[in-house]
Symmetry: C2
């Protein structure tokens, strides 16, 4: 039996992280890295991304061992994309101190021939023009999901609008949703964004959880109540990766399946926060996911 592959396009990066617990340097990160690691527990992932000459071969090898196809990761001349961020003491906000695009500045996603038939597609948070280029190279995707950010919502609204029209699923945080809709109220904002194209919208709310809005109504999954929050970097990408991974694994995209997938996504994202960079995510097992997801289900049980 062949499991349906999930194509992920996004960044692979070095992050410098000023965390309350430590200053971590040259941490391997990027939206595609986190999403693929999270998805790999559920479906074979394929990455399309660019790295520089300084990116560790060991990371790509490790992803390969996890069933992630990294043949779409281009190694370009120059240095890898780099982000430096500082987190507040309570980890609820962060400031970007530096961004170096490096090889990402000239990134033109080129899909290996075998990737064109990918049934599941996650367009990570990159320039909407690049998201459209990837979409154009995939023949007949069964499900297309995307993330975006304030920068593209402000500066590339028209192109982003083109992306939105082609989406089955948009995965954004609440600030991005509000900015896209121009409305503060989350329920109204979600409805406005659904009118722009996506069949379903998932709104990430960090430590508070996530909401799903679609034609069948709304669904809420809380974040797992962590006691040791170390590093939220990549939690949103892990959430999206796990979500798409579970959908690819199940082969379904109905409202009920989404609910179950969102419980898994919330669970996986919670592990991501428990280690610096991808450390905790890399140590994740099905057994750990199952155990914590059971706790999350109990957490919301109405009691009768």
């Amino acid at each position: 039996m062949t499991r349906a592959p999930l194509l992920i396009v996004g960044s692979m990066a070095f992050d410098d992280l000023d965390l309350p617990s430590e200053k971590a340097r040259d941490v391997v990160g990027g939206s595609a890295t986190y999403a693929a690691l999270a998805a790999s527990h559920f479906a074979p992932a394929r990455i399309v991304a660019v790295v520089g000459e300084d990116f560790p071969a060991a990371t790509l090898e490790d992803l390969g061992k996890r069933g992630v196809d990294v043949s779409g990761v281009e190694r370009a001349k120059g240095r890898t994309f780099r982000w430096w961020g500082r987190y507040a003491d309570d980890l609820t906000s962060r400031t970007t101190l530096d961004t170096q695009l490096n090889v990402f500045a000239d990134f033109k996603p080129k899909l290996p021939a075998g990737f064109a038939d990918s049934p599941y597609l996650f367009l990570g948070n990159i320039h909407p023009a690049l998201q459209l280029e990837v979409l154009a190279q995939v023949r007949a995707p069964k499900l297309v999901a995307a993330d975006t950010m304030n920068f593209w919502i402000e500066g590339e609204r028209r192109l982003l609008g083109e992306v939105l029209k082609k989406l089955d699923l948009l995965v954004v945080n609440d600030e991005e949703l509000r900015q896209l809709a121009g409305v503060h109220n989350v329920t109204r904002a979600a409805r406005a964004v659904l009118a722009l194209g996506p069949k379903k919208v998932v709104v990430k709310r960090g430590e508070y959880g996530a909401l799903l809005f679609d034609a069948e109504g709304a669904f809420f999954v809380p974040a797992y109540p962590l006691e040791d929050e170390i590093d939220p970097t990549g939690a949103g990408d892990s959430f999206a990766g796990a979500l798409l991974g579970v959908l690819a694994e199940s082969g379904a995209f109905d409202h009920r399946t989404l609910r179950r997938a969102l419980h898994t996504a919330s669970t996986v994202a919670s592990f991501c926060v428990e280690g610096v960079g991808t450390k905790a995510l890399a140590a994740l097992t099905h057994e750990k996911i199952r155990t914590r997801q059971a706790v999350l289900r109990v957490l919301v049980h109405p009691g009768d």
Copy 2:
């Protein structure tokens, strides 16, 4: 069959509300008013509070018609307690512009003789010395719950500590919980606060919902996803009032009953936000509560 009464001590007030939608003046409010209105759908409430000569007799009569015993509301010489607050455009924060204690400055809660046997007790957010005075006048309460605020946590820590030791249930918002515990992480903070005395802690998180922590674990109820938020004043007090009302109605205080009661409390609080002051709360019916609570249950259903 006699239903178990719920004694509520707290403020009755005039609020001046600078809302995004309007500037509302001389709005009847106060923690005891909101809590009693919410509780009255589930149990006979009894209020202990003080009002001035300017407080409308019609409000007390209306409460009476709803089964609320207002014989413990003292009418003192002078003006009623008054609060003036301005809300941010998104209603997520507010600034106090003025507080006038007026008759509340000399408030010495005196329970009518018939109130001393009250089995359920909600000590609203007043000076912990007054909370203790009320407690001393109740013979053998079955369940004692209380709220508090940053002002008492900072300035009356020792007395507040005495209150905490006598509580079955503490109902606070997340900032108050963190301040009480001196810990940011909500799960750790809740555990620290449980060690101070309360058997259970409920943490209110506004538009995100509420958490319960006790010896049996944690429970999360989301806020109802409103589309028309008008005025959050009193939502926390309505939440506590409904919670205690359901507990008084059920006669139970186990973890499972708390879960169900919290779903009702979240539902009732959502209605409070849909009108200025007590307007929406006053128009509430059992049918409206049932319908919305069913939606809230579906909102968190994991999908299988």
